[in-house]
């Protein structure tokens, strides 16, 4: 079923979009939120579990102190007040990925509340986004639905449950309604999530990889006719797993809702599912404010009462704000406005910074990330940061700098790294891609080429140095590009003199 969409500009002319975001951040603590099970990604199913993660009878939760520290740091970075005392509650609902059939979450007493973050748009304008709250909770397990056509629960024959993720610590950041973004709404959505991502990366409290679900965004969108005060009915779009998708999903919902409203229809309050492949949203389950989770204070846990000293300590240790950091990095790296904006808009600031920290020059790091890696990411519809690690990019650049690789070879090595063939050095070795730096081998190739074109040496001696180009080309071809052209040129000229 294809939704009817209104042209975006037209939609914005008639309606004012109101946005709201719930961003879930998985904290990279060593163990889970309420148990000693390891908090690691990618293990065999149901191996990182304890009786607590499985909700076995008799098991009890214990709050992870590191998760509390991380949450306070995040709250402070979001400009929030930290609650002197906050409480966990039980959110009760039956679902097989929820081992206890209730989620331990914070409800009416979140650890952080009333904050604001500055979000920078592409053109440099700063938009403050008000944060209502940031609260701690535990993640659910992961369901895999099998035997159906769609991979969704409807129509599946059976489902598998993996509780490795059950109990992974999360912070949910909830904004207040964001009004007045107008045509900037999709870009603001993206920039907001990118800002949250930058903040958690700067704090070092999460891997923040959207493709792995470390950072998840639910985007609430509603429209109201221009001039109307009352908010329209909102939808909540889930499964938005990249910055690009955030922008697209918000744009799509604005266009979809506008088409319905313009025809006099009504918006159903529901969750919607974002489909990366089709670029559309589809209806999920109806959601109303009357959903009854029977919240009540979690009796197995005491209130979280951080000391003023702890809060002061964490506040003092906060890294600089992303906007401040951006100004500093731009200056330190000597990038032009355009160069720097490319990096920021590509959401690649953290990657470039990490690559520079790993030893690459700022310009080289920038070129890799905004160039070849972004190109591959676009082609594969993946997140650039998910393809390759900054340290590997720096290592790759190091191989270029020391003459082991030419730029062209380095791009081939990058492909190999992205395809999981190993580190740059391993790919070089495995694919045999290194520049031939053995003069003997080069001289043999030069002599062979000279034998085929005997007049070239004569021309060079007559002063027509450019004639060497024919030999260099032949040698590079014979070496399959794995030679340093400058060195070949030197050797050819030496031969002519000899």
């Amino acid at each position: 079923m294809n939704d009817r969409l209104m042209d975006f500009d037209k939609a914005i002319e008639q309606f004012e979009p109101v946005l709201g975001f719930e961003v879930h951040v998985e904290l990279s603590t060593r163990t889970k939120m309420f148990s000693s099970a390891p908090n690691v990604f990618g293990s065999e199913p149901n191996t990182n579990v304890t009786p607590v993660c499985l909700g076995l009878p008799g098991s009890l939760p214990v709050v992870n102190e590191q998760a509390v520290r991380y949450s306070i740091s995040l709250g402070l970075a979001l400009g929030c007040s930290i609650a002197e005392s906050s409480r966990f509650a039980r959110k009760n609902y039956f679902y097989p990925d929820l081992a206890k059939n209730y989620q331990i979450s914070q409800y009416d007493e979140p650890i952080a509340f009333d904050g604001s973050v500055d979000v920078e748009l592409e053109d440099g304008r700063i938009v403050p986004v008000a944060i209502e709250r940031a609260h701690m909770e535990e993640d659910a397990g992961k369901l895999t639905h099998l035997g159906g056509a769609t991979g969704r629960i409807q129509g599946a024959e059976y489902s598998l449950v993996d509780y490795n993720r059950a109990g992974v610590p999360l912070v949910e950041i909830v904004t207040r309604p964001i009004e007045g973004a107008g045509a900037d709404a999709p870009a603001l959505a993206r920039a907001y999530v990118a800002t949250i991502r930058d903040i958690v990366l700067a704090l070092g409290i999460s891997e923040a990889r959207m493709d792995r679900g470390n950072l998840r965004c639910d985007a609430n969108v509603s429209l109201r006719p221009r001039g109307q005060q009352r908010y329209g009915t909102r939808t909540e779009t889930k499964n938005v797993n990249s910055l690009r998708s955030v922008e697209r999903a918000v744009r799509y919902e604005i266009q979809r809702q506008a088409a319905i409203l313009a025809e006099g229809g009504t918006i159903t309050q529901e969750t919607r599912h974002w489909h990366e492949d089709t670029g559309r949203t589809s209806p999920g389950r109806p959601k109303s404010d009357a959903d009854d989770y029977r919240y009540f204070p979690e009796p197995d846990l005491l209130p979280v009462v951080p000391s003023a000293e702890l809060i002061a300590e964490l506040r003092a240790a906060l890294p600089e704000a992303p906007a401040v950091r951006r100004r500093r990095l731009k200056e330190a790296w000597g990038f032009t406005d355009l160069e720097f904006r490319d990096v920021v808009n590509g959401g690649l600031l953290a990657e470039v910074q990490a690559t520079v920290e790993a030893g690459a020059s700022p310009q080289a790091a920038r070129k890799w990330w905004t160039g070849e890696i972004s190109r591959i990411a676009n082609a594969r519809e993946a997140e650039a940061g998910a393809l390759v690690a900054p340290a590997q990019v720096a290592e790759l650049q190091g191989l270029v700098d020391d003459g082991t690789l030419t730029d062209k070879l380095a791009r081939q090595v990058l492909e190999g790294v992205i395809d999981g063939e190993g580190s740059p050095a391993e790919v070089v070795q495995r694919r045999g891609l290194a520049v031939v730096s053995d003069d003997g081998a080069l001289l043999a190739a030069i002599d062979e080429a000279l034998a085929a074109q005997p007049d070239v040496l004569e021309k060079i001696r007559d002063g027509k140095v450019q004639a060497a180009g024919a030999i260099i080309g032949a040698v590079m071809k014979a070496m399959k590009g794995q030679a340093d052209a400058a060195r070949v040129r030197e050797l050819v000229l030496e031969r002519a003199q000899g």
Binding site: L56, S59, V62, F94, P96, K100, Y102, R294, F296, D300
Partner: protein
């Protein structure tokens, strides 16, 4: 122990057994075998045990071997004990008295179970209980009721009927119980045994199948105050796995019980009689023994004062909102997905969950899950759960005021003596109302003890005195309890349990009637 028959061994209090074991006059294997034999002899009828360990003798032999090798062992090493089936055990099935967990073998031990193993006690088996500890008669067990050794046609109380009855039937000298609203103390009262609900947080709840998390507490069941104290000493203490457990350094309750086992300990003790829990609604026979006990205490120098707790009249109502609310959430995990019963139906996961819960839960469990779900629902939360929590605060204040006037508070442990099986099966409200004397203690998180004080003149069945102390002052219970126990024994001339009828004969007679 020359010339001591197996039956005599089973009648020994844990403290005396421990002494004989330490002195090498008795082996743990002999002690354990004597109790296993007794279980085999009487438990078909008493039904105190849901599971009897098949390796208790191995555990006992190991303790004997280590003692023989000169290892320093704890004060209760080698003494057998029974474990309420609400505690998870990795070597014995754990059901909490429910069909939904039939045959479930937990992959871990409760902290308290780890502690009793570390102290070298010998687990005999798991004791019967009302399903998920919901009840005060043990008739709500999915595995049949437990019978009271004083009269096999009567209830032993509940939910820990098994842990109390096994003591009165001399099947075990010690047992672990759990007390959410009286489940240790009420059965102690009805079976002439001692039961203690420690201060909330005094004993770890990790591995305790939860009924109501803010009320549940594990405690000792025994035939004497000293025995209860010895077991309490083993299980008390902070547990990093239970966030609600206290960091308290507890005194040795056993030392206190020993040093106070004399009427002189009562001299000057201010004892507060809770007016609202000691008059109206208490059976005459129970009231008579209670009044006599107060007179006895006064005669030995205790100062008896009357205190009023105006809000306890709301305790039962508040309790039956808080408990079902927490229970409805705690019991949500019994859904067939990861463990326990799975109903044999096809359909969606919701269909299977629903059919499993329909088949696996008994009526009382369903009743309370429905009640609790309702009480927590949007629009009702403030009126029910919220209001109940306020009552809880008021009752805590009542206790605080009462403890300004008295060091310990007293009431009868329960309004009645053991009544015939089936009396309240179809009247849950009548059964709920019987919990009035014990419930306020759980709502306030304070410690309580039931100590036997005699037999009702009306029916010859045991009556307990309910002692209450401020939070963290469990020591006061052992001081006062040991003194009361000594006084009653002196007064009667023998331990109360000497009056329990000969069970073998009673069983024979009972079986003939049943036939």
């Amino acid at each position: 122990m020359s010339g001591t028959g197996a039956e005599a061994i089973t009648r020994l209090p844990a403290a005396e057994l421990a002494q004989l074991l330490a002195a090498g006059e008795l082996s743990s294997v002999e002690a354990t075998r004597a109790h296993l034999d007794r279980i085999a002899q009487v438990d078909d009828v008493v039904n105190a045990f849901l599971h009897v360990s098949d390796h208790a003798l191995d555990v006992a032999a190991d303790v004997d071997a280590r003692r023989a090798a000169g290892e320093q062992l704890g004060p209760l090493a080698g003494v057998p004990l029974a474990i309420k089936d609400v505690l998870v055990t990795s070597d014995m099935p754990t059901t909490a008295g429910s069909r939904i967990l039939e045959g479930w073998l937990p992959p871990y031990d409760a902290t308290v179970v780890q502690k009793i193993r570390a102290a070298d006690l010998v687990p005999l088996g798991k004791t019967n209980m009302d399903e998920f500890a919901m009840g005060s008669t043990t008739e709500n067990s999915a595995y049949g009721p437990t019978r009271n050794p004083w009269d096999l046609d009567r209830i032993p109380g509940g939910s820990g009927g098994g842990s109390a009855a096994c003591l009165a039937a001399f099947e075990a000298p010690l047992a672990l119980g759990s007390d959410t609203g009286g489940s240790i103390r009420e059965p102690a009262h009805l079976t002439g045994t001692v039961g203690v609900k420690p201060t909330y947080g005094g004993v770890s709840r990790y591995g305790v199948i939860a009924l109501a998390s803010s009320l549940d507490q594990i405690g000792p069941c025994a035939r004497t105050v000293l025995d209860a104290a010895l077991l309490h000493d083993v299980i008390a203490g902070h547990d990093p796995h239970d966030s609600t457990s206290l960091g308290e350094a507890w005194p040795s309750f056993a030392e206190l019980a020993r040093s106070s086992a004399d009427a002189s300990a009562l001299q000057g003790l201010r004892v507060g009689v809770v007016r609202e829990l000691s008059g109206e609604g208490i059976d005459p026979g129970v009231r008579q023994r209670f009044t006599e006990t107060l007179e006895l205490l006064a005669a030995h120098g205790a100062e008896i004062v009357e205190v009023s707790m105006p809000h306890v009249e709301y305790a039962v109502a508040a309790y039956y909102l808080i408990l079902p609310a927490e229970a409805s959430s705690n019991l949500a995990r019994y859904d067939s997905v990861r463990f326990g019963l799975r109903a044999d139906v096809t359909g969606t996961v919701e269909d299977v969950m629903s059919a499993t819960r329909e088949a696996g839960f008994g009526d009382e469990v369903k009743r309370r899950v429905i009640l609790g779900t309702y009480a927590l629902s949007a629009g009702y939360y403030d009126a029910y759960y919220g209001k109940a929590q306020k009552v809880r605060t008021l009752i805590q204040r009542d206790f605080a005021a009462a403890f300004e006037q008295a060091e310990v508070l007293v009431s009868p442990t329960a309004p009645m003596t053991a009544y015939p099986l089936g009396t309240t099966t179809h009247d849950p409200l009548a059964q709920y109302l019987n919990d009035i004397t014990t419930i306020p203690v759980n709502l306030a998180g304070i410690p309580g003890m039931s100590v036997p004080v005699g037999l009702s003149p009306e029916d010859g069945l045991p009556v307990g005195l309910h002692l209450m102390a401020p939070a963290r002052q469990d020591a006061r219970l052992y001081r006062a309890g040991a003194a009361v126990e000594a006084l009653v024994r002196e007064h009667r001339g023998a331990p109360l349990l000497d009056a329990v009828p000969d069970l073998a004969a009673a069983i024979q007679a009972w079986q003939e009637v049943a036939r």
